[in-house]
């Protein structure tokens, strides 16, 4: 369901992940990891790619890694807006994307996840990832 969602929402082909296995963790967390784990007491089995409680929310780490495979719902920012996004701000924006989760990009770089509704782009970067960027 998660990989199908990525294909449907962003055009990221499900087949691209055939070398890996999807794992469901606590609190609706989904991981993409090695085919076999065969050991108990695992803290995390690969890359956290989404949280799915009421709806599927992709992680910024996943979109940074696989955003280049996407064909739709990509929001290209200007340089000043990209800086503000990385610092953690929400942005008022005129966007050519469907309402819902979008991939934020700047000059060919995939920065992370945001939620778009009524011209407001709500920042979904985790607080720990937000930072000041001087060079971009």
């Amino acid at each position: 369901m998660i990989l199908e969602y990525f294909e449907d929402r962003f055009g990221i082909p499900k087949a691209h992940f055939s070398e890996y296995q999807l794992y469901q963790g606590h609190k609706g967390k989904y991981y993409l990891g090695p085919k076999t784990i065969d050991r108990p007491q695992v803290i995390s089995p690969g890359l956290l790619i989404a949280r799915a409680e009421k709806q599927v929310k992709p992680t910024s780490n996943f979109l940074q890694l696989f955003g280049h495979l996407a064909t739709k719902n990509i929001l290209e920012l200007s340089k000043p807006d990209a800086k503000r996004y990385i610092e953690g701000y929400d942005l008022r924006i005129e966007a050519n994307a469907d309402p819902g989760y979008v991939i934020v990009s700047y000059s060919g770089n995939f920065l992370g996840c945001a939620f778009l509704k009524d011209g407001l782009m709500t920042n979904n970067l985790p607080k720990a990832k937000r930072q000041q960027v001087k060079y971009l």
Partner: protein
């Protein structure tokens, strides 16, 4: 200020007058290209575009040094395309690069905060399985953060005491053991104030247990690196010597063209270590303008 007892302890072993002076200088900023997300060619071009001077290391094309303290304020750092890491800390994975490229099961036994783990995952090209273990639960969070940021897909995090680790046969084991950390004093001068010779003996006892267990987890023909960021022979050659007395291990020679390495010592204060420990390498800060380090490459 370097403690007198520290100077007294190492004045003979360091055999070079530049050692103590170097410890009081600031360590240059270094980083590594995360090849899961980028290439060193791309990094060179991007930094040239910013006007930030970086120097590529001749002994490892993915390693760079910069005099600019603002490496962390680049888009590439935010995106996880580079990883800020001490040069010497890149060496354990580098010496087993070929083995990592072909490995299907690898253990990073004391993995947090994940500098070496992210490097290993990249060298494995995100394939196979990499078990990243650390005993300290409080350090697991940093390990998780760094692995996620690096885009590591092949890495499973565990939180167990290595001494009681479930038996599996690993192709490669990386044991960067907890140590007295004397080699990172250029980065953290507080360590000068808290330095105490007694800590060395406690670490040495634990390291001897860890190295034997780590060796037992290797498959026949598998390879392991044992490393510390300390100068104390009790935590280095003595630990490797202990493994040689307990198990049928072979210590391989390490070569890193373009980087000055010193051989392991076979004598320290009335103690003699087996001649094979000369194949281990000591990295003295004054030789390459780095931190201090020790690496042994062990084959089963």
């Amino acid at each position: 200020m370097i403690p007198d007892a520290f100077k007294k302890r190492y004045s003979e072993l360091a055999d070079d007058s530049g050692f103590f002076a170097c410890l009081e200088t600031i360590l240059p900023k270094s980083f590594r290209t995360n090849t899961i997300k980028s290439s060193s060619l791309e990094i060179r071009e991007r930094f040239a575009g910013y006007g930030i001077a970086i120097k590529q290391m001749p002994w490892y094309g993915d390693a760079f040094v910069s005099q600019t303290p603002e490496i962390g304020a680049t888009l590439e750092h935010f995106l996880g395309k580079i990883y800020i890491q001490e040069l010497v800390s890149m060496i354990p994975a580098l010496v087993v690069k070929k083995e990592l490229e072909n490995a299907s099961l690898v253990l990073d036994a004391c993995a947090a905060p994940g500098s070496k783990t992210t490097q290993i995952a990249a060298m494995m090209k995100n394939r196979g399985r990499l078990i990243a273990n650390d005993l300290s639960y409080s350090r697991i969070k940093a390990l998780q953060f760094n692995l996620q940021k690096a885009g590591a897909l092949n890495t499973i995090i565990t939180n167990q005491d290595l001494r009681f680790f479930p038996n599996q046969q690993y192709d490669v084991v990386i044991l960067d053991a907890p140590c007295s950390s004397e080699g990172i004093m250029r980065k953290n001068d507080k360590l000068f104030r808290t330095w105490n010779e007694k800590k060395i003996y406690g670490h040495s006892r634990l390291q001897k247990q860890l190295i034997v267990k780590a060796f037992d987890l290797l498959r026949e023909g598998g390879v392991m690196t044992y490393s510390t960021c300390t100068f104390a022979p009790e935590e280095n050659e003595e630990v490797v010597g202990h493994l040689l007395s307990e198990r049928n291990a072979k210590i391989e020679k390490i070569q890193l063209p373009g980087f000055k390495l010193s051989k392991g010592t076979t004598e320290w204060r009335k103690n003699q270590y087996p001649p094979e420990v000369e194949n281990c390498v000591r990295i003295w800060p004054q030789h390459n303008d780095t931190g201090g380090f020790f690496v042994a490459m062990v084959v089963k």
